[in-house]
Symmetry: D3
Subunit: 245 residues, 6 copies
């Protein structure tokens, strides 16, 4: 039977934490999952893209977008800086933005843009899902900080929390929360984003080497739901009295 | 109940075809699904990227990569050309490449690179899944054309066919093969790639507006499997005696 | 004496056609000359570049510009995509734009921009001249479609048709409408654009290897005028009742 | 009748000069035509582009290429620097390169690349033709300086001289060597490059506003040949004992 | 008299620290000075730039280069990511590289390149000087880690330590180690880099508003030497038994 | 003792001149120092960057910026053109801009931008300091030419002149105004910018190989002040009756 390099159970996540208070500014969170560390920051700008601008009849809606990058020193073999996000980073930052927008009400934000910057300080697998989970915490901090300036302070711009985790198939064994060495040898790689209520926001599954059937898919999704639920609890704990729902 | 703009049944695909023989060259296929038209071309170069190069002990493996673009005139409101693929095109061409690589044996290709160019001539929804289905036909044509030059002509570099289709949720109704107006108003958007054998290669589901539960997911996947199977038949028909398996 | 690879007479063009109706939209034309195929599209945008904007006293003039690209799969040896048009494409798209602007009245278009997109689907020599001839047909379709919205519907924004053809010197023999293999070995290469009335709009002649004298120039120009006149007839035939003059 | 702003006869060029000896280095020439000033420099690099590299059987051929730019301060209204040559500069530098290559024998240069840098210090019309004429002088200086290192010092890499001039149609009057104000209002604009022997190397004629017939073309070409011949004399005079033929 | 916003004496630095051990990898240091935080990382690649490659007679020399960037979230008003380092970042990363190279013996490194990545996590003035001081600590960690692989392990590639600090003139008062609000209003801004031995490596002084005389310069340099010496002590303390001299 | 390649005394500058009147336009100066030649041009645009725009209460301030480039033919081994200024050019053009802004009153210019274009026609060391000295002369010419259009013609936008020179350490000997061969072998390289009154505007000293102490620094600065004073006299002489102070 497959034995994990760090001794975890097959359905066990790494130690996950969301440290708040970096830089004495709201909206900066150091998210960690094992040796993976991502600085998640939510910034507000009082402007919206041209195509979101309102009209006399329709007020401008807010916008929320994400950027993801890895620092050159975040991986063992230095990753050269690039002019623009490479294909992988483009894919990931689009996923992060979509995931948070799925629970976001742009009308309630007013004519503002929220930027979610997810910068990977150290990478050991699972950076994209940790970035989503951490970005949620940073986003809540930032929304709370501007709550009085919202069009209607009693109408919170988020409907639910979101958290994310990876599942995969290694040595024909479905496992939860892959670290880098597991990710490198996985035959199926799946990232799942779910709401606090337990519904699916995103499912991205890739059969790198072995196409999979319905039964296996069901096992992947069950693992993912367990992981997402655990992370949702950690998010609630980290936000404590700032929990908005 | 939801009634489709073109009168199709909820689980019905548009008319789909794969026209071969364009440009008197192998590996050029005009794929159509309703008003969506994609020129899918598979080209071979006798070289591999630096990181695929072999060593004294390990012979070089082949590589397969894809590029996706929309012609400016493919949409009603002209789409300006861009310096590089935008975020959406980047995401799509990575999906196309991964999907075909899932059934591809690079060792059997030898030290060559296959480029799959998917250029959208006309866009009416479902360009990415049509590109995958058409690219498979173009790829087979091209592999057949170089079969004698393969390291072992009896070892075909593909293990199975792949086909792809979109499903989605419109007005709370799961439907198959969305056209553009349906896609624009869908609350869930999912693209599924499957093998000829009916296993999943890629599942990419996004809850644009309404997170979904397991039951709904099951319905989406059932529709997608039906669509993929139909397209697999059309691919086999189009390739006729050139079918490689 | 020089014998052409496809058996044509020295002053004979390849079979040329302008297929209309692609994509169920006006202004999309598939132009073919032998094995060369160019998708010519004319799109309208209701805006003009900053420097064309009008003033209180002078109404804004329209603008017309062209873009030319070759699909990667349009040539036998795949042509990699480039960030921007390369030198050759830049030169060609400027030629296309100038050629159509020579018969165009921007005041009669009103504050609009016309984009002529010429995308080469298959290349076998003569792509730039075929692009000009096909772009004229697409342009007429598009102008006809917006005729009611012109500042003065009775004042048509074109003064005459334009058509174009190549001539060259191969084995000391002047010939008309070179295909790729002829073009590759030509000692003189000349592209000529003429009006329906038979006047010159552009002459671009290059002595790749053998500088030429007045006598030879006269022969090149006579061939070109014959070719341009034939194409003008085909354009009129293709447009039939839509012919605007 | 049309009267020129600087009082010149219709077939008269501006004062033209080629000053040698700038920078105490061979191959740097300050070319002037009236108020137009271009620094023409020919540099040699002991390498050729990848695609010119030789094989065991065929020795590497030389290469010759040109670059053209305008300094920001060369025009009255400062021209911002650009990342890359704009469309006009691209077209011009390709013309310069082709013109000089038409009289150039790459085999006789050996495995070297010649760069012709034409930087416009002051612009008052006719920069591209002056750049060609000046580049020829710089090229001879540079070839003479490396003559001893050529594969066969007795085989000079140039077959003839080249010179260039503009002609145009202003107020229905064909004129020679247009200055900027004439160029701005010309209805036809033509640039002609000829060999010392009087044959055509390049003809680039554009009917900006009035398509032209054979008769007018004949007048343009006669003016251009006169101008090119005069410049050829000035080139010979400037090179004096360094004249290579 | 000028009173500092954080109550410091005029010649007092902020609390400065160099935290080692981030990411369980050698060569990653979190450098802090008050609210300024920079992640300094030194990575080794087993290759050198083309122009450093050795010959049969001369062995290849090593190379050392630096990159500097600010995270978008490092400043109160989010700083958009840019394609390339902007002018300020270019200037700073060149300064960091030169400063460390001044005490570096490339021959003793062998054919390797060291990359110093200085990524600002939080900015409150003095990021460039803190980056230099922190990069020195990271560099020592990394050199120690590869000591056994050096051409001669007994020949250490550094001759001395380097540390850096800013001085400036605020309200006609020379002060040490400016924070952001001081830096914004400074009339003179100077960055000084010194060796552990107390000699100058770099002096970069700019009179933003008030040109200064010799007397004032002497005061700036005295302050800077005091600050550099204090930081040198902190570096030695942080490295403890790893101090290489 | 160190003997200079061109026989100069250790504290002697090369022959320096500022030729005015190029291009029959104000604000174009050919600055020379020995074999180094820089074309310095000051152009005015009637607009300011977005961030300098005024408000109802505060009128817009002017802006002054500089660009520096070397022509490909300015050095013996041709320097390829680059998309953007490289690191060195970025650093230099920022230095030029800061140096001139140190004596410039943007309020007195009104809502205009001055561009200082410094294009090196020939490089033999000291291009950045010569560019600063020449740019001052071009700037005065241009300001004088628009003096009547200034907000207050009696309030000149400059407070003093600026001039610049390099000093360095070669063979343990401090010297003034290094030519290229000296610059290449210098152990310390320092550029100093001073006002006509003799105060420091910029000091940029780099110990390429040998960190230096206070005594040596004093010697460098004494040499630099002597050189700057001499150049200030030449600037005054060149401007003659146009001297603005």
């Amino acid at each position: 039977m497959y034995s994990r390099p760090d001794g975890r159970a097959l359905d066990q996540t790494r130690p996950i934490s969301f440290k708040r208070g970096f830089a004495n500014a709201p909206g900066r969170v150091i998210a960690s999952a094992g040796d993976t560390v991502v600085l998640c920051a939510a910034s507000v700008a009082d402007e919206v893209p041209e195509w979101r601008k309102g009209t006399a009849d329709a007020p401008a809606k807010g916008w929320l977008t994400a950027e993801y990058r890895m620092l050159p020193s975040s991986v063992a073999r230095r990753k050269p800086r690039q002019d623009r996000p490479d294909g992988r980073a483009t894919e990931i930052q689009r996923l992060i933005g979509r995931s948070l927008r799925a629970v976001f009400d742009p009308e309630k934000l007013g004519p503002r843009t929220i930027y979610l910057d997810c910068d990977v300080l150290q990478a050991d697998g699972g950076t994209r899902t940790l970035a989503i989970s951490g970005a949620f915490v940073a986003l809540v901090e930032t929304l709370n900080a501007i709550r009085d300036q919202l069009p209607d302070p009693s109408a919170y711009p988020l409907r639910d929390s979101v958290s994310a985790i990876s599942v995969g198939l290694v040595q024909e064994t479905p496992i939860l929360d892959l670290c880098y060495v597991e990710d490198s040898s996985a035959d199926v790689d799946m990232n799942v984003v779910a709401t606090g209520e337990g519904k699916f926001v995103e499912i991205q599954g890739t059969a790198e080497r072995s196409p999979f059937d319905d039964e296996r898919l069901a096992r992947f999704l069950a693992l993912a739901k367990k992981g997402c639920a655990e992370i949702a609890s950690l998010q609630r704990e980290a936000l404590a009295d700032d929990w908005p729902f």
